[in-house]
């Protein structure tokens, strides 16, 4: 569970996030949706302290994030970014083993977990010895996900994880991924500006504009009763919604 209270972030004089409050329940998938530059990434990174808030508080599973060591907090929170954020000098196997090793897992345990993950994510065994430069974009993305899920974190943060993929692959990867049991019990905060993605994956959508939340609701509620013209326009304006 993540509880965000009156969160504000200023960069010099520019306010990227203003007085934002939001509670995300255990096991829920919450999508942060909004136009470019509205503060989605900033909000997300404050949860794992890659950005420190100017004011307000964030509690993860009841504990204030500022009251714990950043690296310990981050090891308990999966983090996925666009194109995977893989290290060029780590093989797929090493990438998946990164966080388990940080947490001192034994080699046997790591091997079991790696096999489990690549099976679930449909990554062929032969990929394990390859470097990121030798993978396709979709494969890199899946490896990035596998790395984030390796230690079964209760929370996963994803920042446009499918952003670099073509629309077809994007749909395919995200269906596979969100079809996993693994993610069912996991709290997921996903940032996107792709409306169809948000509608498909979200339990609830938080629609943002200029650093504030405009409306938080389930996809259905958002479509049927938009809180403002902005919300309606934002959801309407996307032609590919018709294909879903």
């Amino acid at each position: 569970m993540i509880e965000i209270r009156n969160l504000t972030k200023r960069f010099a004089s520019y306010t990227a996030v203003f007085d934002l409050s939001l509670t995300i329940a255990q096991g829920e998938t919450l999508v942060l949706l909004g136009t470019s530059g509205c503060g989605k990434t900033t909000t997300l990174k404050m949860v794992n302290r890659l950005i420190e808030p100017t004011s307000g508080s964030i509690r993860v599973d009841g504990v204030d994030v500022m009251k714990q060591a950043a690296f310990e907090l981050r090891r308990r929170i999966g983090y996925v970014i666009q194109d995977g954020g893989l290290f060029p000098h780590y093989t797929v196997a090493e990438a998946i083993a990164t966080v388990p090793k940080l947490l001192d897992w034994g080699p046997e345990m790591i091997r079991e977990r790696t096999n489990e993950l690549i099976n679930k994510l449909r990554l062929p065994q032969t990929l394990l010895a390859r470097y990121p430069a030798e993978l396709s974009g979709g494969q890199r993305q899946r490896v990035g996900l596998a790395r984030a899920l390796a230690v079964r974190p209760s929370i996963v943060l994803m920042d446009e994880p499918f952003g670099a993929l073509d629309p077809f692959t994007r749909r395919q990867v995200r269906r596979e991924l969100f079809g996993l049991n693994e993610l069912r019990e996991t709290t997921v905060v996903l940032v996107t500006h792709d409306v169809s993605e948000a509608l498909e994956l979200a339990d609830r959508i938080a629609l943002m504009d200029a650093g504030r939340i405009v409306q938080v609701a389930t996809p259905d509620a958002l479509l049927t009763s938009p809180a403002s013209d902005f919300v309606r326009d934002f959801l309407d304006d996307k032609p590919h919604r018709l294909h879903d």
Partner: protein, 518 residues
């Protein structure tokens, strides 16, 4: 070519020692530069405000010419390994700091953020992500530093730190191409070898590069150890100028005549005196009337067996001039025997160290020997032109001659000082551009007459016989006259600190040989 190979074969031992020393110097300085440069590079990649000044300082150090850098370091670190290592270390620093810094800052920001985002500590981000990814760039810096250092390490030979520069600089001093090449070719091969080896390491994948880097760093202390291989150490340590070490009438002559066998360190002429003063060496080569003998309280060892050819000074005058002004010859001969070694050394000392003018030193001297006369104010219509080479002793002699001639005769003296070396003076004299200049018998013999090895071998190296030979030959070949010798002999010599020589009871080169063999 065969000469070259013969030289290399004959000096194989020395060459091997120099090469190992060279590698050792390069490796030690590189290791030190890595130990400081990599952490500094990391530091400034963390605190970008420091980056400008640190890179700036390292950059300025890099632009100081190597000889000047050694010059700055010698007063602080003395001579020997200290200044050589320090200079090499300073040169290697910039490429290593800069490439560490650039390598780290150029790691993709999203990769660094992902590393922090999945829970790596700052140290883990550095050691597991940034450094491995920066390694190829750091390696490129090490490669640059290595090649620079192999080159600069030749200068170690200036400060008695050994290395391949010994042959290079001796070869240059002696115009001995084979000797120069025997140093230059291995130095070039070393540079190319290191470059190729490091280049191939650099091309390895990041993973293998890590292994390569570990191997390289492990190899460094091993290579460094070459420097400390037991070098032969004598009871007394000799420091010789490169030229003296190589010239047939220098150290080789000494070996032949006295059977003296030393393991001399080679060092720049002008640094030798500082080296013996500070006790870093005990015996140096030099010239017997150098003012520094007095300044540094040195003792010239007597050369009773005449290993060093005599360099007796005497005025050399055109026969034509002597015929025209017979009084000139008589006047110049007034000085015969008046300027002994110790007198000349003292005069040199007064000018070089007490900063007196050659003019006043000359007048005091002439007054003391009773030859000074105030020039009578009279019409001087006849002129003689006097030349001199460009060093203190010759300036003083020129001044003595001028005052002597103007005091004793009605001739007017025009002085052309600063005629450079022997060849220029000699040519000026032969063509009549000057009428006379002071020359040394040994120089006349070995530089101008250049008799065959056979003739030389049959010549007795006593002052008198050389003087007679030179006088006769010059008169016959060039119509030039050597007047009577001034009395001092500015030849090669060996010297020691006076107190040490006294304590060990060494007065002559024979004493030295006996002491060393005891």
């Amino acid at each position: 070519m065969t000469d070259f190979l013969t030289f290399v074969r004959e000096h194989a031992d020395k060459l091997l020692e120099q090469t190992l020393t060279h590698i050792g110097l390069t490796a030690v300085s590189l290791l030190l530069a890595l130990l400081l440069g990599v952490p500094l590079g990391i530091l400034i990649s963390r605190r970008s405000r420091l980056a400008g000044s640190v890179l700036g300082i390292a950059g300025v150090l890099q632009t100081v010419p190597s000889v000047a850098l050694l010059g700055f370091l010698i007063p602080v670190l003395g001579i020997g390994v200290g200044p050589a290592l320090m200079a090499l270390f300073l040169y290697a620093l910039l490429p290593i700091i800069r490439n560490t810094y650039v390598g780290i800052t150029e790691v993709d920001a999203s990769v660094k953020e992902a590393a922090r985002g999945i829970g790596m500590t700052n140290r883990q981000v550095l050691t597991k992500v940034e450094l491995p990814l920066a390694l190829p760039v750091i390696f490129a810096g090490v490669r640059t530093a290595t090649v620079i250092n192999v080159g600069v390490a030749t200068l170690a030979a200036y400060v008695a730190a050994g290395g391949l520069g010994e042959f290079i600089f001796s070869g240059i001093a002696l115009s001995n191409v084979n000797m120069m090449m025997a140093g230059a070719i291995p130095a070039a091969l070393l540079a190319i070898g290191f470059d190729v080896a490091l280049a191939s390491l650099q091309r390895l994948s990041v993973r293998k590069l890590r292994i390569g880097a570990v191997a390289f760093i492990a190899l460094m202390p091993f290579l460094s150890a070459f420097y400390w291989l037991p070098i032969q150490q004598d009871k007394l340590i000799a420091g010789f100028a490169h030229e003296f070490y190589g010239r047939a009438d220098g150290y080789p002559g000494l070996q032949k005549t006295y059977g003296l066998n030393l393991h001399p360190r080679l060092i720049d002429q002008n640094l030798m005196y500082e080296a013996i003063r500070s006790g870093q060496v005990d015996i140096i080569s030099g010239y017997s009337t150098d003012g520094r003998i007095q300044a540094f309280d040195l003792l010239v060892l007597a050369d009773n067996r005449h290993a060093f050819p005599p360099y007796d000074a005497a005025p050399m005058v055109r026969q034509v001039t002597l015929n025209r002004f017979p009084e000139l010859g008589q006047t110049l001969n007034l000085l015969a025997g008046k300027l002994t070694d110790s007198v000349m050394t003292a005069l040199n000392y007064q000018v070089d160290y007490e900063k007196q003018s050659p003019e006043s030193v000359a007048r005091t001297f002439l007054t003391r020997v009773g030859l000074y006369k105030r020039p009578e104010p009279r019409q001087r219509s006849e002129t003689v032109v006097m030349g001199s080479k460009v060093f203190t002793e010759q300036y003083i002699l020129a001044e003595i001659y001028r005052q002597l001639i103007e005091g004793q005769t009605s001739l007017r003296v025009v002085t052309k000082t600063g005629l450079g070396g022997t060849q220029i003076c000699f040519d000026a004299l032969r063509t009549g551009a000057i009428d006379f200049y002071p020359e040394y018998t040994g120089t006349g013999l070995l530089v101008i007459l250049q008799p065959s090895a056979h003739t030389l071998a049959n010549l007795s190296m006593q002052s008198d016989s050389i003087y007679d030979y030179v006088q006769h030959q010059f008169h016959q070949q060039y119509q030039l006259n050597w007047l009577k010798p001034l009395g001092f002999n500015n030849s090669y010599c060996l010297m020691m600190r006076r107190d040490q020589a006294k304590q060990l009871g060494i007065k002559t080169i024979e004493d030295l040989v006996n002491y060393m063999e005891r």
